[in-house]
């Protein structure tokens, strides 16, 4: 089945996408790295690597480790900085590719400033605020782990931009529904979830953590059911659209997130293993729809049946 008769278009937080497949921040570089493998116009768009005000270097190695059906990473959000992104990375992309810029900072003012600098840049269709970074003033707790800090953050970035604003939530919380409602209340246009799950792996020979940083973020197929549960819970808690993320490896995985209430999805770790994965998933969703008599991909959103 080719899926050619299916209407794959969706609208996420006011951003028109040709299909619901985006790629997750930090797993897709600045887009051009995938040019040998994938025509970026085959997918809905991509979320670029998180940007800070100034260029930032990552952690010393080892930065990655493997776990069953998963990997851990502690890169520490290495990036070229907002200026180089706007000046060098964006112009290198083909036209009509939807680009969502990801933003983070170590304090709220930095987030707001990066958002300001990206607002009005013609190629930037929307912003995704990465709320999973440690908040220095709160002793290293993630912005997205404390509802008051998260509210302050979303309020500040909302004032800084009129672009469509997605907030990427941390899974390392007791109630994802509460965090989702906080973002909605402060004016977020949509939510992306989940970010990597905080994790630790140990080498029994050296008796040290495998990662130089100690803790890392777990991603890959192992976290998919956790992510699916959180998307389902968040979708029931808010009316703003949700972009589902977490271990999506094929079209069936993606359809599960749509059924649980995600309007669009992001492919993350799978891009590493198979740089054509996002394109194959986009085609596969359309084929699924055709095979199941679904005319519009948007009709799958939230269509989970109960027992």
């Amino acid at each position: 089945m080719s899926g050619a008769t299916v209407d794959s278009r969706v609208t996420l937080a006011g951003i028109e996408l040709r299909n619901p497949v985006l790629t997750a921040s930090g797993t897709f570089g600045y887009g051009t790295e995938f040019a040998p493998f994938l025509d970026l116009r085959r997918i809905g768009g991509f979320v670029a690597k998180s940007l800070t005000l100034k260029p930032r270097t990552g952690n010393p190695p080892p930065r990655i480790a493997e776990a069953p059906s998963a990997m851990l990473n502690a890169i520490s959000l290495e990036n070229v900085g907002v200026e180089a992104f706007v000046g060098e990375k964006l112009p290198a992309l083909p036209d009509d590719v939807v680009v969502i810029a990801s933003v983070f900072g170590t304090e709220i003012m930095e987030y707001a400033e990066v958002c300001k600098q990206l607002t009005g840049v013609p190629r930037v269709a929307g912003l995704e605020v990465n709320a999973s970074c440690p908040h220095v003033k709160s002793g290293g707790i993630e912005f997205g782990q404390d509802p008051r800090v998260l509210a302050d953050l979303v309020r500040s970035v909302r004032r800084a931009t009129d672009l469509p604003l997605l907030v990427k939530l941390s899974p390392n919380v007791t109630s994802i529904a509460e965090m989702a409602r906080v973002c909605e209340g402060e004016g977020a246009d949509g939510l992306s979830l989940i970010n990597a799950v905080q994790a630790l792996e140990v080498d029994v020979e050296t008796r040290r953590p495998v990662l130089q940083n100690g803790l890392g973020g777990l991603s890959g197929p192992a976290i998919r059911p956790i992510a699916l549960r959180m998307v389902w819970q968040a979708a029931r808690a808010v009316d703003i659209p949700i972009c589902g993320i977490g271990g999506i490896s094929d079209a069936a995985d993606a359809v599960k997130f749509l059924l649980c209430g995600a309007t669009a999805i992001q492919v993350g770790t799978a891009n590493y293993l198979n740089p054509m994965a996002a394109g194959e998933i986009a085609d596969g969703i359309a084929s699924y729809c055709e095979d199941h008599g679904v005319g519009r991909v948007a009709d799958l959103v939230g269509a989970l049946e109960s027992f």
Binding site: R63, I64, I75, N271, L273, M276
Partner: protein, 275 residues
């Protein structure tokens, strides 16, 4: 050509294909030899590598272990690409079970190649353990133009990789084994030290365990010889996006082994902090 020049401009764009296994042989001593037919293989330059996913060979994809493994291109001819590996963990154990006719997802060629050797100077290639696999294409290419000596090291004669293939090249081949079961009894860098003492300002090209490459770098620097090393590292993608394979640089900061390497000028590497 009097100056070394980069091959980066001539680099082929990588492909992602499900390669067909033609042969996957246990050669004894823990060594395995994999031959793949890679459709649309654009050709690689000496020192480049491929990412192989042994789990992606059937309709239901295996996700544990999740990550593909970087492997040097040992030899290539047309669309046939050969890889040498040792079984060191679950990923390579899985790779060793793959049978002819099955598929292995292959992404490549990736990375920067060795800089072409200076035509006026002899070349010394130093390989240890599985690092030997990175040097065969370079040895074959260099031997067409210049005098090449290949120094290979292993723990034992049985564990030594690819001896016969190197012996078939028009190069001078010298072996070192830790247990003295073949060639020089001791480490391969002792052979390099001897050769550098003879002078002649050769170019040194090394791939092997970190202590071996570090020693090659020290010896070459002391002898005023240029040394290129091919680093190994864990990586999730192989093409510059996971940022997992950072290697520390002497000038400060990090370089990605996958896209800025795997071949580096040995003087650029911060050997004391390289894991």
């Amino acid at each position: 050509m009097s100056q070394p020049s980069a091959d980066t401009d001539a680099r082929s764009l990588p492909v992602r294909v499900d390669a067909e296994v033609l042969e996957n042989r246990d050669e004894g001593g823990g060594n395995h030899h994999l031959c793949l037919r890679v459709p649309d293989w654009p050709g690689s330059a000496p020192g480049q590598f491929v990412m192989l996913s042994a789990g992606a060979r059937s309709a239901v994809e295996r996700t544990d272990p999740l990550l593909p493994r970087p492997m040097a291109v040992y030899r290539q001819s047309g669309s046939v690409v050969e890889v040498l590996y040792k079984v060191t963990g679950r990923g390579t154990a899985l790779l060793a079970q793959v049978r002819p006719g099955q598929r292995v997802r292959t992404v490549g060629p990736l990375g920067c190649a060795f800089l072409r050797p200076d035509a006026a100077k002899p070349a010394i290639l130093v390989g240890g353990g599985t690092g030997i696999a990175s040097l065969h294409e370079l040895a074959a290419q260099c031997a067409e133009a210049i005098e090449v000596t290949v120094l290979l090291g292993a723990r034992t004669a049985e564990e030594l990789m690819a001896r016969d293939d190197f012996a078939a090249l028009p190069v001078e081949l010298r072996i070192a084994t830790d247990d003295g079961s073949e060639g020089h009894p001791g480490v391969v860098t002792e052979l390099l030290e001897e050769m550098l003492a003879e002078g002649g300002a050769p170019g040194v090209y090394a791939c092997g365990p970190t202590p071996m490459m570090r020693r090659c770098a020290e010896l070459a620097r002391a002898a005023g010889a240029r040394c290129q090393v091919s680093l190994e590292n864990h990586m999730a993608c192989g093409f510059g996006v996971c940022l997992g394979c950072a290697a520390p640089l002497a000038e400060g900061g990090f370089a990605l082994v996958c896209t800025e390497g795997p071949v580096f000028d040995a003087a650029r590497v911060a050997w004391e902090t390289l894991p």
